[in-house]
Amino acid sequence: MKLKRGLAAVLVAALAVGMMTGCGSKSSDKQAASDKKETLVMATNATFPPYEYVDGQDYAGIDVEVAQAIADELGMELQIQDVEFGSIISGVQSGKFDIGMAGITVTEDRKKSVNFTNTYATAKQVIIVKDGSAIQTVDDLSSNTKIGVQQDTTGDIYTTDDYGEDAVTRYNKGADAVQALLTGKVDCVVIDSEPAKEFVAANDGLKILDTEYVEEEYAICVAKDNDELLNQINDVLDKLKSNGKIDEIVNKYISAE
């Protein structure tokens, strides 16, 4: 019996070693293949129109096209990973993804964990309410208001700071928060202006308040130790800005009012 158990342990150990070496050789194969054309892995959360969303089978949106333009300039192949918004920055930090691009606002807290490129878009947080809501301006929000947000977005962070933990209900997607607003589970939704417009256009009986909650800037995040990529992207962004490529992409998705 004891002998058998010893034998089993040896077998398991052998199997484990075999699997490890198996994995090792596989990843080095991959490395060899990608030497031809390096991949640029972009983490995003494709539930945020018009910046990133799924259109049919493909990813579309401003961030996706800007990232594609950057990858083209750098001679790299763009690979998109669709993950939860809250996992993007920690994934970039740990080197799982090369860049994070998901309408990410530059904040001081986030700067402690990752580096940000120059900004490529400005945005604001706005408040969506139902038609005829008692909430008329941002001043009507209080700690008794039920505020719906997308988890870990700046809308979540700012409203939690301003009105406290209990006032905020966090959903995985902006669209879920808007659905909760429609059925009266929350009183308002605080979210970025451009997705807000899309959500309001798609649902009857909603409106965006005239006063915005806060203004902010979007940028691409890169791991702290990857200054080379950061500088490369900044150079490309400057080029894309000056040759009008970024404006062209933005205008394609956001019609000027």
Binding site: S90, D109, K112, G148, Y171, Q179, T183, G184, K185
Partner: protein, 244 residues
Amino acid sequence: MSNGWNTFVTDFRFVFIQDDRWKSLFQGLGNTLVITFFAVMIGIVLGAIVATVRTTYDKNNGDMKKRNPVGFYILSIANVICKLYLTVIRGTPVVVQLMIAYFIIFATSNNSTAVAVFAFGINSGAYVAEIIRGGIMSIDEGQFEAGRSLGFNYGQTMIYIIIPQVFKVVLPTLCNEFIVLLKETSVAGYVGIMDLTKAGDIIRGRTFSAFLPLLGVAAIYLVMVVILTALVGCLERSLRKNER
């Protein structure tokens, strides 16, 4: 070594202590326990009713058809409803059921914890029903016959002879189901409820650190399951006193 320890302490302070983040973990743990407890209650009641209907039908449909046709039809309909319930609930994922309950069935309800209790309770009821039914079916037919020959009717045989034996048989499986349920409630975050997993997620999102929040949450779940298992172990041992 001490350097690594210092880093760990700094990280631990940052992740759990700073900004009172441990408070949201405890709040989340509270919500997880509340949802699990009441869902277990609903599951037991619902499961017992469904199991009763299903076994009564299976064991009596032959002679009841002749003796009591009206009762037989009522029982047949109840049996079909129970079968439908089992098929639908066991055939769809609990996350989908939870979202259907939250966004469709109780679209106008503001009490999301109650909606979650309802969804998880209904879900658990289906599994509990099959566990209890399996327990009843596992009791030897001779036990039924013995009861009937003592002059008990079907109901009395069940209550005095079968159920006490069933209880002992199903306890380990039932405990397993509740452990599964406790962990299944981790999807409550999908509908904006701050349960333990969601609290860990929020800390992960705020600190941009994955290691401690995830391992911390895992450790809390593990401790709860270990405690639950120990409690059921005690109960099982005391039930086994009549055995040799």
